[in-house]
Symmetry: C2
Subunit: 100 residues, 2 copies
């Protein structure tokens, strides 16, 4: 089943847009490791939060991605920007009225 | 900007899959009113919750959709299944590494 990882990443004050730039850098590698969709977002109501919506081929593809050197490098690059506050949901996609 | 509405819908015990069936019923109308993506999901860790990820052409398209009779009818149909617990995030999409 397609796996969804929806997350909120707390950033240190003033670092939100730096993190957005990092996360939205073109990265065709993600598709090759099973990432179907990766949307990065912001809200004026939450100036120190970056939102991500990830869809993966499956939960395994997502979990395995976190072990890959390239992904570890991105996480290390982002870490200094983060406040340590995280939130979100993980679930399996059951369907869509646009494909029903 | 593309607008994301990520939500959790609490259901009454045993009604989760009924709500999933309702929300995933084919509905081409949504595309015509500006819905770009509508994913419905579940998690074994949350037996009484349905997750939705909606992407809309803009916040206005999403807000206006809630006033439309067809959408109001769907909401009315779903209401008896709901526990009243809601959560989620609303934000604007800033970009994607898959399109960067």
């Amino acid at each position: 089943m397609v796996f969804a990882n929806v997350g909120t990443l707390g950033t240190l004050p003033g670092q939100r847009d730096v993190l957005v730039a990092l996360l939205t850098r073109r990265n065709d590698y993600l598709k090759r490791i099973g990432c179907l969709s990766y949307e990065v977002g912001v809200s004026d109501d939450h100036p120190d939060t970056v939102f991500v919506i990830e869809l993966w081929e499956g939960e395994d593809a997502h979990r395995e991605s976190l072990q890959l050197p390239e992904v570890q490098a991105s996480i290390a690059e982002a870490r200094p920007l983060l406040s340590g506050e995280f939130g979100g949901y993980r679930f399996d996609i059951a369907g869509s009225p646009l494909r029903g």
